[in-house]
């Protein structure tokens, strides 16, 4: 059922920019149109690109926002797991709870340098 909804009406998660738009909804309470406009503005792309995995593949790479690995595509030298969330917090201009706590735990600043 999850896959059905995703194919029928979803933005596409991390294949595109769904997680980014979703984060603005979950943590900032933004309505969909506002969230899409905001995210597109911060990413420097068109709103129509947000659900396009082809467009977002390059945007996510360039901004270090994390990408999904598949059988033929792996990214061992790119930001993954926790690291992209530091980038996401910076690019979207919103605090991310796990980023803040990770930085505190590791003695880092949220932009990656030493505290």
């Amino acid at each position: 059922m999850a896959c059905t909804h995703a194919l029928a009406s979803g933005i596409g998660g991390m294949r595109a920019a769904g997680d980014l738009v979703g984060r603005m909804q979950m943590t900032q309470g933004m309505r969909l149109s506002d969230a899409k406009t905001y995210v597109a503005g911060r990413l420097g792309c068109a709103v129509a690109d947000l659900a396009d995995p082809i467009a977002m593949h390059d945007v996510r790479r360039d901004l270090g926002l994390g990408r999904i690995t598949v059988q033929d595509l792996t990214y061992p030298t790119h930001a993954g797991a926790m690291a992209p969330k530091f980038r996401i917090a910076d690019v979207l201009g919103v605090p991310i709870n796990s980023v803040t706590r990770f930085a505190e735990d590791a003695g880092l600043t949220t932009t990656g340098g030493r505290a």
């Binding site: 029928a8 998660g13 984060r23 979950m26 900032q28 309505r31 969909l32």
Partner: protein
């Protein structure tokens, strides 16, 4: 011989209906939804659009390009393969989830409280491995605070004995305990790095259950302003098990989604998920028309994202462990096209 199309009932079974029968179901669904909730019926154009969706012979239906919405997944995962982090990773990477939710199989904050340290550790581990926003979810589950499962007298047993005052007192006592547990769990999850909390199936035990969730949300949001909070409902209508409970001057008993979202916003929720239960003996078209009618007024007054529940047995999705893709995709598209909702 009149041409028929294959469509589904609310229990997922396949039936053959003519185009006229489907239209009649759509009109009946919106009529009863409007009558019950005192909302306007769907417009002729909306009925025509739903008719197009449900008379199509295509196996799959989808929104137009550009109309995609955010998908939140309360209770992401089956907990039957790998670890919970593996399941969340699968939802993030393989199932197109825009938001994720860590949860325990005993989906109740009363139960989670007893294992909070383990749940919080799971949240911490999950946050280290995932990129998509991840909240923690469970139910207010007010009924569990009543005897024999809890310490409070069972109001469901007191009411038939006409011991109404005692039943109301019992619910108030249960609310206090539930709020304490929910806030305690929320604190633990936030400290572990959660992006947000989900108070799901609010109102399942009536207006007391709903009040407990609203009170907990207000408390949590006051302590952690950056915390995302989703309020998900149990059904379309708040039952007045107490009957006199209010939140910020609004009586909760009898609320439909348009009023529910207002109190959710006032409490500090950042997302709202209305629920409309499925009638398994009616067609999916009937159920979708009814669901759209009931939820549509909510969209006009919402200031926060609205994600109608479209899991098994709600929103028009058939009540079946394997909801058929032809039906689910039609529900998905119909709700987005008619409601212009912020997500599902």
């Amino acid at each position: 011989m009149t041409r028929t199309v294959r469509t589904r009932l609310g229990d997922g079974s396949l039936v053959a209906m003519t185009a006229d029968e489907i239209r009649a179901d759509l009109e009946a669904g919106t009529e009863i939804g409007a009558r019950r909730s005192k909302a306007p019926q769907l417009t002729a154009d909306e009925i025509d659009h739903l008719h197009d969706i449900f008379t199509s012979e295509a196996k799959f239906s989808a929104v137009d390009l550009g109309d995609e919405v955010v998908l939140s997944f309360d209770g992401s995962g089956n907990l039957d393969s790998g670890t919970r982090v593996d399941e969340l990773y699968s939802y993030q990477c393989h199932r197109g989830a825009d938001m994720l939710e860590l949860f325990a199989m005993d989906y109740s904050y009363k139960a989670v409280k007893t294992i909070l340290s383990f749940e919080a550790q799971a949240m911490k581990t999950a946050q280290l491995n995932l990129i998509a926003p991840l909240q923690y979810g469970a139910m207010p589950d007010l009924g569990r605070y009543s005897m024999p499962d809890g310490p409070v007298p069972n109001w469901s047993e007191l009411m038939p004995l006409t011991r109404i005052d005692e039943a109301r007192e019992a619910q108030l006592a249960a609310i206090e305990l539930a709020v304490s547990d929910m806030v305690y769990c929320a604190e633990g999850m936030w400290e572990a790095g959660a992006d947000g909390l989900d108070f799901d199936t609010a109102g399942a035990a009536g207006d007391g259950d709903f009040l407990a969730a609203l009170t907990a949300i207000e408390t949590v949001k006051g302590r952690y302003p950056d915390c995302g909070i989703e309020l998900g409902m149990a059904s379309e209508y708040v039952l007045g098990m107490h009957g006199q409970l209010e939140f910020k001057g609004r009586r909760l008993a009898g609320m439909w989604p348009a009023e529910q979202v207002k109190v959710a916003q006032e409490a500090g929720a950042t997302m709202f998920g209305p629920a409309v239960n499925v009638n398994t003996t009616k067609s999916v078209a009937w159920n979708v028309a009814r669901a759209c009618t009931i939820i549509k007024p909510c969209m006009a007054v919402a200031e926060i994202p609205v994600h109608p529940n479209v899991g098994m047995g709600v929103g028009g999705v058939p009540m079946s462990p394997y909801p058929p893709a032809d039906a689910v995709s039609r529900v998905s598209r119909a709700l987005v096209d008619i409601l212009h909702c912020d997500g599902l």
